[in-house]
Symmetry: C2
Subunit: 289 residues, 2 copies
């Protein structure tokens, strides 16, 4: 029976009951404010696991003081209804602090793919992600977990964590979902004014422009990135980074490209007013139709 | 059949074979240079687990530059023979770097009981311990693991790690083992000259003196610790710390004791020449006969 739980012990009771029946579990960790991107993750989980758990937890460890933890969108009732309609068997509405024991004292710090890009601007961020994901994997022991490619570096961090600490979870990457205007779906989009939303379209356009230039023969990484950055700054959007990296390890792309570059990914983070947006795409796959 | 292995894959093959037979596994993690203290850990493991694995690995992550990683005693052949004779079913002689994958990039950092005492003098130490223990638990998935009370703070860190990351390992604490002269057994004792060994007896004597003063009615924590420190400095031994703490959480003991203090522990670390020695005992249980 699909339903929601608040307390950790209720979650673990349900998990144990599924184990006794030999049912596999897929986890979709979220911070709530669900949109069609999240629902696609639930669909991916449903396709492989017998039971799907959606966790909704605004993890304080991945916000620094002064970041948008307070204004992060919250909509628990609607989230539950949407998640269950999308096929979740259980929604875990984790109350603050229920996820960690009272005397919790362990941090999990990823280097490797966790360095650079987001880390340069949010140095606490991946420690928060790795710690809460380690705790969720350890508690729930899912066979599968689904993460969106929208947060591409996060996906890589989770894959690395899962390998290093041998959680044995099959990590499933779900493609980024865009709105009809090509803006990547994000819970933070709810905090954009309509004027900002219009301006924010420069984010996918910056990727599109770089992809097009590459398709038309531009082979300088520096030129491609500069084209993307110009689209953003021309729209009054502050660029945190606009980089071309190898998808496999997030190391910088070569300066000169070969034209046969199947493993390269454009990564962008930018501020539209106070709303921070991230986006990415494969260099040979323009994001917008 | 008792034996030793070098490669991780051989270890995991043996582990998998035991799982198929429904046998439980006890892990005794060591850095080699085994002594009777280690052998007592193997005995403890043997008493509860169907199969006992002794790992021998001088973990580079728990040494800082300039510490004694190079001079740490090594005696693999003798270690193997001793461990097997003591009841180990498998000795894992981990080659350097075999324990971590090539692109390993995860650190596990304990705060809580990992703060203070050793951390004040070896700030890298418990991150090294927690990371390697997390990796060993994750790889081997033992039902039991045995740690000596000689490294009392380490034992507490491992208990915390095991709880926080839900490894589900039953952690067994084994009492500290002393030589006939009352010095706590330690692999590092091999690096003491005979003159230093004589002087090192001030370490257990410092604990003994504080315990005796407590038994005779001294109730000031400061006075008890000062008595212990004096024993060490009078013997020309540099004190890193000599503290009285609560055994449960390693927080400082109250300034004034009640006389009914069953949860207090004296913790000492000191340098005899370049050899660093640690020792500890319950305040109401003098270490020497």
């Amino acid at each position: 029976m699909a339903s929601s739980v608040y307390e950790l012990e209720n979650l673990l009771e349900r998990r144990a009951a599924w184990s006794r029946l030999g049912l596999t579990v897929g986890l979709v960790p979220t911070m709530g404010a669900l949109h069609a991107g999240h629902l696609s993750l639930i669909g991916k989980a449903k396709a492989v696991a017998d039971r799907v758990v959606v966790s909704i937890y605004i993890n304080p460890k991945q916000f620094a003081p002064g970041e948008d933890q307070e204004s992060y969108p919250r909509d628990a009732e609607n989230d539950c209804a949407q998640a269950l309609a999308a096929g979740a068997d259980l929604v875990w509405l984790c109350p603050p602090d229920s996820i960690y024991p009272k005397d919790w004292a362990t941090s999990v710090i990823p280097s490797g793919v966790g360095l650079g890009l987001e880390s340069n601007h949010r140095p606490h961020f991946f420690t928060g992600v790795a710690t809460v994901v380690a705790r969720l994997f350890a508690l729930l022991k899912p066979q599968f977990a689904v993460f969106g490619e929208k947060d591409f570096q996060q996906l890589k961090v989770v894959e690395q964590l899962n390998r290093d600490l041998c959680f044995g979870v099959t990590i499933i990457a779900a493609p980024l979902v865009r709105g009809v205007d090509c803006l990547a779906l994000s819970s933070r989009n709810r905090n954009l004014s309509s004027e900002q939303r219009e301006r924010a379209l420069a984010v996918p356009r910056s990727l599109q422009v770089a992809c097009s230039a590459y398709a038309e023969g531009e082979r300088s990484t520096q030129v491609l990135c500069q084209l993307g950055r110009s689209v953003l700054s021309d729209s009054g959007i502050a660029v945190d980074y606009f980089e071309l990296v190898k998808s496999s390890d997030l190391q910088p792309a070569p300066r000169e490209l070969s034209g046969d570059d199947t493993d390269l990914r454009l990564m962008v983070a930018a501020l539209c007013g106070t709303v921070r947006l991230i986006d990415n795409c494969a260099l040979d796959t323009p994001p917008c139709p």
